[in-house]
Structures are given as structure tokens and as C-alpha cells.
Assembly symmetry: C2
Homo-oligomer: 402 residues x 2
């Protein structure tokens, strides 16, 4: 039979992880702290019905919604991004510097198309988002990890690794990081931007969680400190609007956007138009402010429930991060518990039926890192179910320590 | 500045062609026979407003429409494809063999991810669809062209080229081909499938125009004659439903679909859900049959107008194809007219303002092929404007022959 391409050899493990994750979430009896979805109730179903009723008309934007559109995305959505999402965060930008994408993740795919040759090095946080690593693997990049602490990526280690490995790109999720929930400090944001300029390395800043903040002061994106165009900002509407709409964007200097345009055109021509119009109208009609307030309220309650439940039900000696926003906390268990093994029991034991993502998969450097850790996503589970699920999972863990 | 990947070196020319094409179409004063859009009036705006009103509700499919969904696409759309689009054409398939994509073109991207290493050979028709070649170029494939005649790809030349070049893939648009409008004969369809099996080569069948037939008998897809899984069928909803919805699909054996799943997951996770539900409901509610009848009626009239106008206004000695369906005719001019040069004048002379796509860009083997040819798309222009545009373009051509 015809052979698959060499790049597919690199994908077996990570693809299996993702598949397992989607599979576990699908069981209706499961309390799932896997995935990365928002509270179902927070999706703007009624607002989008109203908007779709207005725009899917021959005398409004109906023809536009169903026709071919521009590769770079519709103009009013790019304007909304600049005016409502970038300018308020201290980023000067022109709609010409924006490319609309089919979900935030497509940014990683296109950035690899445009920059990565097989064997090129990408520096990533340790741990980092497994789904992005899956993409880097497909493009035959070599991922090398940079140490993290509570303030995010360690910039001293970053500079050392840049000198040592001459990377093409640094991939960083600065705010409420996936999987740890940690946030890169302001000083380090400045330093990361500087290092990109100084060593001629692309900083790929992936920042989908930043607006879902529950406490603490907002920090400017790394991109706001970039003076040379080395930082490229990738973002998504999945957390602030709707994941099923598959909308995201890249902000970059024009010479990079021009090549992203070519790669986007050669991937799927352009992003679906109806979701773009619905999203642009959602902002233009002024729904975002109130929607975001509601989103933060709903998810803050869940974050608080998770923190309380972990305190109450997980064994002594457990450590976890206290995220100021976003969807995740990162838990390190005491003792010698292997969370990959534990997961099999946790999702199949009828007295538990709790899913999470085992920690090991988030480390690109292996060596057993993360084997006693887990990522818990609190956003998709109502507070009472968070308590129930964490109690059951805590009891299972305790039974292993006896 | 950071260097782009090697694959981007291959893309300069084709990307420029595409961009020019979109640019020319955007001028409202232009009569455009470029692009490949349908009659605007034939888009199902009212039907989709009605469906969206029903499904964007919390008690129907509103949450589903806005949430993350399966990588492979929603089940009912995959069932619709099998039951309404494949079974009636003699193709046995299971929804498990279908992957929903973000537009038909994404099939070419993902098939390259899964099968093409740099330097691998893809055999293509001569001429072939420029946008697919742009993708093959991005993946650093080597495109080698196979001769065509009025019955489509020459299978004798195909077998010879397979023996000579040991290709990974054969890319063929069998029905109302882009750019020529030609259709591969039944005998040749069988032969192409056989050659794939015999020589262990993937046949990538791209068949988006097949349902838009104005006359002549329907021919089974190549895939219907495939006994070994070597043929992969790519199709699109852009011509039979709506291009802006960006919906397409791949039908392939499970071991190939499994790898396409991995590549799709690492491209954009999955295709937007709302367009998928709208499309599935459109078929499930029984709109397709009447919609297709209307589509064929509207576009047959335009095909006929184009044939009549060419006869009337183009100079003696011009040759063109008579397409039994689809959107395109392929025109070869007499004399020494260079259509690439002519286009510059045709789109800028205020007395002409007619766009088309110059022929040379559709040939991967250069050598001046197609320099006197043009692709005319008749579907997006009303009959009276077809006569007006072809008269103006014909007069410009005649002035060059004097």
C-alpha cells in the first residue's frame, strides 16, 4: 500500500492522546475535567439566533454570508479585533495586519507552514499545550522545553536555550497557561519580546484565555513590547464567543501576514463567512461587554469551587496552582502515583467516572516528568458536580496512598 | 529577519496568480469570467434563515452549534453524504469513511500532509486547477503533467508517466474539469481506478462540479470502480450548497481516514459546526432536489448564453469546449495572442473591463503552453452581461489580430 509521508511517523502518540481525550468527554455519565470547554450555559445562543435572523436575508448580508470571501477574513471582523480587542490592551495595529483563521489552533499550523523546515527547533514551556505540540510534530520540528515557575517561562533558561539551540521560534502561552493556569509576569513579558528581537527568533504568543480573568491586574500581551516585529500574536474566539464557530486570528507584521495569506489560501481558501459575520455583529451590536462580565462570573464561581474542593478532598501534600483566570489548574500529587495509570481506573470504575488529562503528555522532554500531575479543567462542570467529581477522584487517590 | 521555510520559496508565483484573481473580481464595474462562483441568486438564503431560526435555540441544537465538535464532523452530515450523495452514484460507503473538511480544497492540503514528502511526484492533468497546484507546491511535490483530450486525461500517457516517474499520487478532476470543462469518459474512469490499484498509486479524485449537469448521461465517479482503496474521493458543498459555508469532505478507506483525522486535528481541530448543521438540515428537510433543479436551470441558461456569445463575437478560428455541466469553458485563440498580456488591457481599458483567467497558469510544465488560452467561468454572470462581456472581449481580441 502507498506509504504515508515521513511527517506522519511523528504523530502517533500525540494524536492518540487527543483522541482518547475527546472519547472520554463523550460519555454522558462522566464528570469531565478533561477538554477545555466553557460552561455550556454561557454560549450566546439567543443572541446569535437574533443576529442570524437579521443577516441571513437577501436585503442584508445573506448573499455575503453564503458566498466566497476574502482569504484574510471579512473587514468588519478585522476592525472589531483591532478596535475592541487589541487597542484597549496597548497594541497598535491595522486591520491589514490581521488574518482571520479557522479557530485559534490554525495559527500554529500556518506559522509552521511559513517558518518551520524539518529539524528546526521550537522552544516550548515545560509543560505546554499538547495539541500545539502535535502540530509542531507534524511539521517535524524539534521541540525543546524551557523551565517554568509560578511566574511562567523562566527567561534566564530561555536565553540560555536560545543561545544553545538557535531556535526558529519560541511558543509561549503567557496568560492562564494551558495546562498550568500560570501567568507570565510583566517583567518577563518585556524580556521575552526583547529576546526575540535580540536573537532574531519568532515569539509565537498564544493568548486565548486572557480575557477570562477573575482577579488580579490585566497584563499587556508580549506583543505590546515588541519593537521589531519578531512577536506574532495568535488568538481565538473559542473562549470569549464560541468554540464551535472556529474563529481565531493572527496579528503580525505585513511581510509575515503576506506569507500567512499564501499558506491560508493553500489550506482552505478562507474561513467560513457566516460565523465571521455573526461574530463581528456580536461585537458591533455591543454584546461583548455584558457577555464577558457573565462569562467571568460563571467561571469564577467554578474556579472557586475547584479550589475549595481540592482543599477539602485531595490528600495532604497535594500541590495545585491558583489561576487568576482561564480554565485550568495543575495538580501535583504526593507519593508515587502515576496519573496516566490512574486515569484508566478513574474513567472506568463505576464509583468514580471522572476524567482529567494526565500530566505526562504535556511534557515534550519525557524522562517521567509530569507523571504524578494532572490538568483539571473546571470551566465545563457546574459547581456541585465539581465537588462531587473531586471528592470521588480524591478518594480514589487516597486509596492508592494507603 | 527570521527566514521563511523552504516550502514558501515554491509559492511565489501561484499565490500571486490567486491574489490577482481575487483582486480583479472585487471591482464592481468589472464583468468577471474569472473566479468560480455560482449565480448569486441561486444561494439558499431564505431556506438557511428558516433553518437557523429553528436550530439556534437552547431546546434544539443551539448549544451543539456553538460548542466544540468531533474532528471528523457531525454524524448527520456524514450520513447525508453517504445516503444522498454517494449511494445514488453507485458508491458503497460508511459514515466512518467520511471526514468533513473546511471546504473542498482542504482535502488537497490534508492529502499532502498525509502522503507527500518533499520531492514526491504528483501527476496532474494538463491543464489543471491552479489552486490545487499551489498546495502541491507548498508541500514541495513535483508536479508532472499528463496529456488530455476531449475525453479527459489520456490514460495511455498516464500509464507511461506512472511507469516513468513512480508517482505517489494522481490528481484528477474527472467531471466538467477545471479549467477545461471536459469530462473523463466512462472507460477511462475504470482504467484510472485500475491503474491506481495496479501500480500502487493514490488516485485523488476531485469532483466538485459533478451534480451541476445540463445534458448528457451521468457517469459514476472513479471511486465507484476502485476495488483496492487506492482512490480517494474529495468533494465540496461549494457548488451545490454554498461556498461561504466552507464545507467539503473526503471519502477514503479507514486506514487513510485515520491519518487524515490526525492531520485535520493538527490543522484546525474540526470544521465549524453551525455550517455543518445548516447543511445537514438542508438535505434532511428535503430541499436539495428542488435546489439542484433550480441550480441546473439557472446555470444551463448561462452556459448556453456563453456558447452563443462566443460563436457570435469571438474571431474565426477560435476553439472552445462545450461543457455538459459545471462552470467553465476553455478557449483557445487563433493567431499569436498572449492571453496573460491581453488580460492586463482587458481589465484596465475602460471600454472593456472584462476579467478572465489566462491559460498559462494552469499548466505546470511551462514551455509556453496555454499562452493563447483562457478559462471563462460563465456561472457568476447573468446572460445579458455574458453577451456584453464576450462582445467587448471579442472586439479587443479582434483588434489584436488586425
Amino acid at each position: 500500500m502507498v506509504k504515508f509521508s515521513k511527517r506522519m511517523d511523528n504523530m502517533k502518540d500525540s494524536a492518540a492522546v487527543i483522541r482518547g481525550l475527546f472519547g472520554a468527554m463523550a460519555n454522558p455519565g462522566m464528570i469531565s475535567f478533561g477538554g477545555g470547554a466553557l460552561a455550556r450555559e454561557s454560549l450566546p445562543v439567543d443572541i446569535l439566533r437574533e443576529i442570524s435572523q437579521d443577516i441571513l436575508r437577501k436585503d442584508t448580508r445573506g448573499f455575503e454570508a453564503l458566498s466566497y470571501g476574502p482569504v484574510e477574513g471579512i473587514k468588519d471582523l478585522r476592525e472589531v479585533i483591532v478596535n475592541e480587542l487589541l487597542n484597549p490592551k496597548g497594541i497598535e495595529a491595522d486591520p491589514e495586519n490581521i488574518m482571520i483563521l479557522t479557530g485559534g489552533l490554525e495559527a500554529m499550523n500556518l506559522m509552521c507552514q511559513v517558518f518551520i523546515d524539518p529539524g528546526d527547533v521550537i522552544l516550548v514551556e515545560s509543560p505546554t499545550f499538547v495539541h500545539s505540540v502535535e502540530i509542531f510534530d507534524m511539521f517535524q520540528a524539534k521541540c525543546i522545553s524551557v523551565e517554568m515557575d509560578d511566574d511562567g517561562m523562566d527567561v534566564v533558561d530561555l536565553e540560555e536555550k536560545i543561545k544553545m539551540h538557535n531556535p526558529k521560534m519560541v511558543y509561549v502561552i503567557p496568560t492562564f497557561q494551558n495546562p498550568t493556569g500560570r501567568t507570565l509576569s510583566l517583567e518577563r513579558r518585556k524580556k521575552v519580546a526583547e529576546l526575540g528581537s535580540q536573537y532574531d527568533v519568532i515569539i509565537l504568543e498564544d493568548d486565548p484565555y486572557r480575557d477570562i480573568r477573575y482577579n488580579g491586574e490585566e497584563l499587556s500581551p508580549i506583543k505590546a513590547f515588541d519593537k521589531t516585529g519578531h512577536t506574532v500574536l495568535a488568538n481565538s474566539f473559542s473562549k470569549i464567543f464560541s468554540p464551535g464557530s472556529r474563529l481565531g486570528y493572527i496579528l503580525a507584521d505585513k511581510h509575515i501576514i503576506d506569507r500567512i495569506y499564501d499558506a491560508k489560501s493553500a489550506t482552505n481558501s478562507h474561513t467560513a463567512i457566516l460565523p465571521q459575520i455573526l461574530c463581528a455583529e456580536f461585537f458591533k451590536r455591543g454584546h461583548y461587554r455584558e457577555h464577558l462580565r457573565m462569562l467571568c462570573e460563571v467561571h469564577r464561581e467554578r474556579r472557586d469551587a475547584m479550589m475549595e474542593a481540592l482543599q477539602k478532598y485531595f490528600p495532604e501534600g497535594t500541590k495545585w496552582t491558583y489561576p487568576d483566570g482561564g480554565l485550568f489548574t495543575w495538580v501535583e500529587l504526593p507519593g508515587e502515583i502515576n496519573t496516566t495509570e490512574l486515569l484508566k481506573e478513574s474513567i472506568s470504575d463505576p464509583n468514580v467516572m471522572v476524567a482529567y488529562v494526565a500530566g505526562a503528555g504535556f511534557f515534550t522532554d519525557g524522562g517521567g516528568k509530569g507523571r504524578n500531575s494532572m490538568r483539571l479543567c473546571f470551566s465545563a462542570v457546574p459547581p456541585d458536580k465539581i465537588f462531587e467529581g473531586i471528592e470521588k477522584l480524591g478518594n480514589l487517590i487516597k486509596s492508592k496512598l494507603e
